[in-house]
Symmetry: C2
């Protein structure tokens, strides 16, 4: 358990927004500062430093944890390599040194998917689950893995990339990572849309009914399918079912590899999951280990909470 | 590092044979006692107890580690559930209690695939690799996983079943576990043979040349294919290549999930792997984490060594 009464600042830096808040006893306290992520890396650093100054004035912060998009080094001191949707120069920022020099407050940096898993474990849906995996089903598929209460980070901190398990040897769909048929290419929101368009393309024009009537199928969206699903559209049901089967494949692998207490699903696509149905399907297909699939709780604040709890764990 | 000069007895109980020997400083010392596994579970217990008595007379054993086929409970005290190729009643034997009562020597029980991974880590091909996975390619596909120097066992000790990651959603091949298209169904020796027979069946009778000439393809064996491969037979090359691609899929998943220092391949099928070629293929397909695939060293004595090293680690 994290030390009582210590105050940790959690900072979440994503491609879309930056947010930060103080955390005491596993809960956010006071205001959440938040803004759209600037396009300039210096601006990001300045916003972070100003935010710390503001919140430290009110709270007298003990430790700081940053949850960031992109890969983080094994020592949890800095971002390494490319970070995709963050501006050029971002990975050159040495947050730990900048912050520790200026405020004399111990700081760590962690990948946001790892931080999210830690947030669910310490303050979310998986409290007390010493073996738990958080899978983020969003634009991509991310993961954070807890084994015996500790994050699995690998030799360089590049582990827990659960989105990149191949689901087929037939090279059917290219993945953003450069390989083929990764779980992410099918189980993500992007994958959902791709499946819908592929399945629609297989139906001859004259047989396209329901939501497909007079539809430009190259423009089909996840939203179209979910809306149709709620109206009982048969095509949408088939697309959704195919997606659930793809989601299931990765969950079966993770269950057999980790024998976890739980797998937490978070991210925008997780809200389209019928958890009761998914648990039944998983149970029917796992014959060695069993687990429970649950919905994330920390969700939007997972980066703040996870960063803060990791900093408390490390420094207090 | 394991404590110096302590003497551990390692006992390996498999479906085919039981073997045991003393281990000092990571090496087997003195004789290896070994016999075919009896069909009666009481006989197994008696053989183990007699073996301990014999070896203890010579060596004054400090601790005992048993590596056994089948699932072991989280506390490493006993076999749980069914054990497939071991006799009825085997899982009722309480080795720890029987041995500790009789000899007053601390004893632990561990699953043989986990013990093999620990043997490679402490005394085999993966010494110093704090994150390493040992995959056994035999009749089935087994696994043992080391993260930050510790075995990944899961909530009930049923983890590391890496053979049961699904490789396809098309329900093409049933797995022994009851699910479909597991890695084991394709990457194991049994899977190799099944692939050979399937691929042969797709070739029309009149076009079957090389090793397939006048061959009853329902009787094709792994041995036939390996022999043909060494003679440059084209069909055998294709079967082998398909197998390598299947092996590769699981290795890609494990690399992205664990970012390990190494993945060790052991078991009967590992000797048919061209490690240089496999490493090149893996490197070309892993874009996030990288690893090195290496051949097992502890191999035949992995159970003895792993059991012994785990007992030293736990009790000394």
């Amino acid at each position: 358990m994290a030390p009582k009464n210590k105050i940790a600042l959690g900072i979440d830096i994503g491609g879309t927004k930056i947010s930060m808040a103080c955390v005491i006893d596993g809960e956010i306290t006071g205001s959440i500062l938040s803004r759209k992520t600037p396009c300039d890396s210096n601006e990001i650093l300045n916003y972070v430093l100003e935010g710390i100054e503001t919140l430290n004035y009110d709270f007298n912060i003990n430790v700081i944890g940053i949850a960031t998009a992109g890969a983080v080094n094994k020592e949890n001191t800095r971002v390494v390599g490319s970070t995709g949707n963050l501006p050029t120069g971002y990975s050159d920022i040495d947050f730990k040194e900048e912050i520790e020099n200026k405020f004399k407050i111990k700081t760590l940096v962690e990948n946001d998917a790892n931080a999210a898993a830690y947030a669910e474990f310490k303050a979310g849906a998986a409290i007390g689950h010493m073996n738990t995996i958080t899978v983020t089903l969003g634009t991509g598929v991310g993961g954070g893995i807890i084994v015996d209460g500790k994050l699995v980070r690998g030799k360089m901190g590049a582990g827990a990339e659960v989105g990149h398990m191949p689901l087929s040897w037939e090279k059917k769909r290219k993945c953003t990572c450069g390989d083929w048929d990764c779980w992410e290419a099918y189980a993500s929101g992007t994958g959902y849309r791709a499946t819908a368009r592929e399945m629609a393309a297989k139906i001859p024009l004259e047989l396209r009914t329901g939501i497909l009537t007079d539809k430009d199928i190259t423009q089909l969206t996840t939203h179209d399918i979910i809306a149709g699903l709620n109206q009982g559209d048969e095509f949408c049901r088939q697309v959704h079912d195919a997606w659930i089967e793809f989601v299931l494949m990765g969950l079966i692998s993770l269950t057999n590899i980790f024998d976890p207490d739980s797998i937490v699903l978070s991210g925008g696509m997780a809200k389209f999951v019928d958890f009761e149905d998914l648990n039944k399907r998983l149970d029917a297909r796992c014959h060695i280990a069993k687990t429970k699939i649950i919905h994330a709780k920390a969700e939007n604040n997972a980066g703040i909470l996870g960063g803060a709890m990791l900093a408390l764990e490390k420094f207090c």
